[in-house]
């Protein structure tokens, strides 16, 4: 019993970098969970992935200008991500091209540009850092940034929750009552980019989107309404962060993949065990009701 407790708690008692990493995961999970659920419900799961890659050139430029400056890299990443989102949105709006195609096009341009910039001016170590992040190196400034982004995300979501959901499920209705759906869509995209920037500090651009989409995809198997789905997703994200950090510490694994793989396990378990349409529920013979 004591041994278990020690396994679960000791790393965080002992090391301050583990404590910081844990708090960062907590904040990340709280923000990314609900955002991921809404991305999934808008059928934009893969666009989160595209956007996370689009962050790269901005972060790289920030890195080149100011070195390992958190502010510069985050700001750069935010601007780059938002630019790709806006350009893709504009093309979709003013041409016949669908959103998935225009997002793919712009993120690929952005990603190539990012890799180019890093490889001309930096070393491959820098590139690895940007791609995979290091949650164990989170300092107070990063922590503050991640926590602020989580707070802004939750507050904004609370304010625009109603139109955001209507826009998702019946955008025609929102138009018919003369509400501007585009504004809320844009605000939401800003939140997505913000959370990816928060995530890339800790997990790197490749893994950041994992903490967004895997808990959301898992939550779909447990809840029937958007708010409960968001709550489940945030919980899974936070727990994945905690368990992932423990695995990383005790088994000497890289922290980013350990966290995302934990979320991945949660997803696989949810597919099988989930109360809503999980495989067990679907295939176990249960007596049917009268009506």
């Amino acid at each position: 019993m004591n041994l278990l407790l020690e396994w679960l708690v000791a790393p965080f008692v002992e090391f301050s970098f583990m404590r910081r990493a844990l708090v960062a995961c907590l904040a990340l999970g709280l923000g990314c969970g609900p955002v991921g659920v809404l991305l999934m419900l808008r059928r934009m799961s893969l666009m989160g992935d595209a956007l996370s890659h689009a962050v790269l050139p901005g972060a790289a430029i920030g890195f080149l200008i100011a070195g390992f400056s958190l502010t510069a890299m985050s700001l750069g990443g935010f601007v780059a991500g938002l630019t790709v989102a806006l350009l893709a949105g504009l093309v979709t709006r003013f041409t016949e091209q669908r959103e998935d195609a225009s997002f793919a096009a712009f993120y690929l341009i952005s990603l190539a540009l990012g890799v180019l910039i890093v490889s001309i001016r930096g070393s491959s170590v820098d590139l690895l850092h940007v791609l995979f992040g290091t949650i164990l190196a989170v300092d107070d400034a990063s922590l503050l940034l991640v926590a602020s982004i989580a707070s802004v995300t939750l507050l904004t979501l609370a304010l625009i929750y109603r139109p955001l959901i209507v826009e998702c499920f019946d955008s025609g209705f929102l138009q018919s009552v003369q509400a501007r759906g585009t504004v809320y869509h844009l605000l939401f995209l800003i939140l997505v980019v913000l959370n990816l920037v928060a995530g890339f500090q800790a997990l790197g651009t490749l893994m950041a989107v994992g903490l967004m989409m895997l808990p959301a995809a898992a939550a779909r198997f447990w809840a029937q309404e958007v708010w409960s789905m968001a709550a489940v997703a945030a919980t899974i994200a936070v727990l994945s962060g905690y368990i992932g950090l423990l695995l990383s510490y005790h088994h000497d694994l890289p922290s980013g993949p350990a966290i995302i793989l934990t979320a991945g396990m949660a997803y696989l378990l949810s597919i099988v065990l989930g109360a809503q349409d999980g495989l067990l529920v679907r295939f176990l013979p249960r007596p049917h009701l009268q009506a």
């Binding site: 419900l41 304010l159 625009i160 109603r162 139109p163 959901i165 209507v166 998702c168 499920f169 019946d170 955008s171 025609g172 209705f173 138009q175 018919s176 009552v177 003369q178 509400a179 779909r220 809840a223 029937q224 309404e225 958007v226 789905m229």
Partner: protein, 249 residues
């Protein structure tokens, strides 16, 4: 007919890619009227409703909403555009009908909730409040959308093929709702395909095939001759079509 239009169309043309879907259409939907819009596929019926809602740009001519403002209009589009797998309960969908009262941030009071439950009772779905919409049949879901429109309390109601793929019993129940709107002096315009239904329940009809074939009392509009005319006119979307010679007045 009285001279009290709710919506007046003045030489209206609406195009997709310069090809007119609604072509030089003039006339008026009177206040408190119950009108069916009838015509073959591609006749511009849905386009006309969307143009009235301001969802499509007008190419030439004018839509004059008289005293109505955009918020006085409720619109039921064809069903395909709604995500029926979305995780939301029946009651929450109906509550959206209060949008003009509560907007983005307004509180949902228990009085508003009671009204929503009454609306659900009016379409005989009162026991379905907590059900997720993905568990509903097409007919049940259409009842939900009608309940939402009941709450919208609109003066002009536009229905785009509201009874397509809906069984007879549900259609009958929903037509009762439409008749009640008519009795309350609301203006109702519905795109329909079932001519017997139109003859039985809709006093006025607009028969169109891009342009107007006939508009007025249903019995005088739905004649064999007019219907034949509509079929012939609907056929040609001509790639090589010449410029339209009709000048706007």
């Amino acid at each position: 007919m009285t001279m009290n239009p709710a919506i007046r169309l003045d030489d209206l043309t609406v195009c997709y890619n310069r090809h007119p879907a609604v072509h030089h259409l003039s006339g008026a939907f009177n206040h408190g009227s119950l009108t069916a819009i009838v015509g073959p596929n591609g006749a511009g019926k849905s386009t006309l409703l969307k143009a009235i809602m301001g969802l499509l740009p007008v190419t030439t001519g004018r839509i004059d909403p008289a005293v109505l403002t955009p918020t006085d209009i409720a619109y039921l589009p064809q069903q395909a555009q709604i995500d029926r797998q979305f995780p939301i309960t029946v009651l929450d969908v109906v509550l959206l009908g209060h949008w003009q009262r509560i907007g983005v941030l307004g509180a949902m009071t228990s009085a508003l909730k009671t009204q929503a439950i009454e609306a659900l009772a009016a379409v005989e779905l009162v026991d379905f409040q907590r059900r997720p919409i993905r568990t509903l049949s097409a007919g049940q879901f259409q009842r939900v959308l009608f309940a939402r429109m009941l709450l919208q309390d609109a003066r002009l109601i536009l229905l785009d093929e509201p009874f397509t793929a809906i069984d007879a019993r549900t259609t009958a129940d929903l037509i009762t709702v439409v008749r009640a709107w008519h009795d309350q002096q609301r203006t109702v315009i519905a795109v329909l395909h079932d001519l017997d239904q139109v003859r039985a329940h809709f006093p006025e009809t607009l028969l169109m095939a891009r342009s107007r074939i006939a508009w007025g009392q249903t019995a005088q509009v739905l004649t064999a001759e007019h219907l034949q005319q509509a079929r012939e006119m609907a056929e040609a979307w001509d790639e090589q079509a010449r410029l339209c010679a009709v000048q706007a007045p």
